[in-house]
Symmetry: C2
C-alpha cells in the first residue's frame, strides 16, 4: 500500500480550465476531500469515495487526508483556483508540521488557474504590470494588517487583486477597504469586479473608484484594482508594461 496526497487546483469553474495533470490525479484517486461545492465538481464513479465538508474545517480535511494516505489511499484534496493561493496547500503543511511521522508522506501540489488570472484574462490584462494579491477574508488577519498592506500596495504603485472581498461574517470590511483606497488613490482609478468567472453566473463590471460600492462584491467575486496607468481600450481593461512616472 503506497498512499499519496495530491492537493489539486480545479481552476475557476470551467472544465476547459482544468489541467490534464489534475484530471489524471482525479482519475487515479480513491478519495476526494474538499469544500462541498468543489467536491461537487468531481464526477462520481465506482471506487471513488467523496468526502465533502463545510467551510472553515481546513485543518480537519488535511488531517483526514494524511490519515487516509497513511492507510494506503490515493487522496486528492480539491481547491478551486490554485491550491497555493489562499487555499488548501498551506493548511495541509500547517497540519504536517504537527505530525513528524508524516514528513516523508508522498505529497504533490498541483497548480491551477487562480481566480485573479482568470478574471484578468476575461477583462483584458489588468495585471500586466507588477501586482499584489491580498486575501480580505482571513479571520486570522487583523484589520490593521489589511490596512497596512493596502496602503503599501497603493503607495508602491501596484495593481491589486482581492480574494474573498466580502463575507457574511464581515460585511463592513470591504466598505472600509474602499475608504482606504479613496485615501490613497485618485478617484478615476479603475476597478474590476469579476464574479464567478468561467461559470454560467459570470458577470464582469468595471467602474472607477469614485463609483465603486461595497455591494458590487460578494464571496464569489474577485476584485482587481488597476495601477495608476490602467486604462480601457475598446471593451478591454489593461495595464501597460511600461511605467509612466
Amino acid at each position: 500500500m503506497t498512499g499519496w496526497i495530491a492537493v489539486a487546483g480545479l481552476g475557476p469553474g470551467a472544465d476547459t480550465l482544468v489541467t490534464p495533470e489534475v484530471t489524471q490525479a482525479l482519475a487515479d484517486a480513491t478519495d476526494v476531500i474538499g469544500y462541498i461545492p468543489y467536491v461537487a465538481r468531481v464526477a462520481p464513479r465506482p471506487g471513488l469515495v467523496l468526502h465533502p465538508s463545510d467551510n472553515r474545517v481546513e485543518l480537519d480535511r488535511a488531517t483526514l487526508a494524511l490519515e487516509l494516505a497513511g492507510a494506503g489511499r490515493r487522496v486528492v484534496i480539491v481547491s478551486s483556483g490554485d491550491p497555493g493561493v489562499f487555499a488548501m496547500a498551506s493548511a495541509l503543511f500547517e497540519v504536517l508540521e504537527t505530525r513528524p511521522q508524516d514528513h516523508s508522506a508522498d505529497i504533490r501540489i498541483l497548480p491551477g488557474i487562480t481566480a485573479m488570472l482568470a478574471a484578468a484574462a476575461r477583462a483584458g490584462a489588468p495585471l500586466g504590470h507588477d501586482f499584489c494579491a491580498i486575501n480580505l477574508s482571513d479571520n486570522l488577519k487583523p484589520a490593521a494588517v489589511v490596512e497596512r498592506r493596502l496602503r503599501h500596495a497603493a503607495r508602491g504603485g501596484f495593481a491589486m487583486a482581492f480574494y474573498n472581498p466580502r463575507s457574511k461574517a464581515r460585511p463592513h470590511q470591504f466598505a472600509r477597504v474602499l475608504e482606504i483606497l479613496r485615501e490613497e488613490c485618485e478617484p478615476g482609478r479603475l476597478i474590476l469586479f469579476a464574479r464567478a468567472v468561467s461559470t454560467v453566473d459570470e458577470a464582469l463590471t468595471t467602474v472607477t473608484l469614485a463609483e465603486a460600492l461595497p455591494e458590487m462584491a460578494d464571496m464569489r467575486t474577485v476584485v482587481i484594482v488597476g495601477n495608476p496607468a490602467t486604462r480601457r481600450v475598446g471593451r478591454w481593461l489593461y495595464t501597460p508594461r511600461s511605467v509612466s512616472l
Copy 2:
C-alpha cells in the same frame, strides 16, 4: 472570413500543465506567433503557419496578429506561463490602442499556469498568504521604481515573486535587489530559486537571505521571497495562512 486572435498561456513547460482551452485554440489555429522557444513548443501540422520571432519584438508580433486576424486568419499568440503576467496580453492591447479600426476584433485571452504558481506548488506553498509579483527585467521600468516597490512589499509583510530576475543586459540588477532586501528583511528570511519548473532542467534551491547570491538566478529562474512567517516543514517550504504579529 472571420478571423480571431487568442493570446494563450502555455504554462511553465510541461504539456500536462496546458489547459484544454489552450490545446483547443492551437488545434483550431491557422497561425501561431511568439518568441522562438515558445513557438517551438507547438507541434507543426499541415495548414498551420508558425511565426517565431526573437525577443523584444512584442509590438511587432501584436501588429502581425491583428493584420492576420483582419485577413480572416485564426491566430494564437503564445506566451509561456500566463499571457497576462509580464507577457504578450498587455503588448497586444498597447497596439490595439493605436488601431481603432481593430477595436471590435475577436480577441480572447486564455489564462495559463504562471511561473510563480508552478514554482510555489513544486516547493510547497510559499505564496499561501498575501504576496506581490514584480518583474525585474522590464527595461521600461527605472531602477528607482523597482527599489520603491521592493521596500513597500517588504514593509507590508508581503511574500514576493520576482520574474526575469537577471538578464545579460542588466547583470548587476539582481545583486542590487538582494542589497535592498537585506536592508528591509531579517537575514534568516527564506528565498526560493526555482529554475525551469516542470521541464527536464528543473532545479529548486531554498536558502536564507544571508546565503543568497546573485548567481543563483538566471533568466529561466523565478525567485520567491517568503514573508516573515515562511518556514520549512520536512522538505517543503510554506507560508501559514495566519499572521504572526
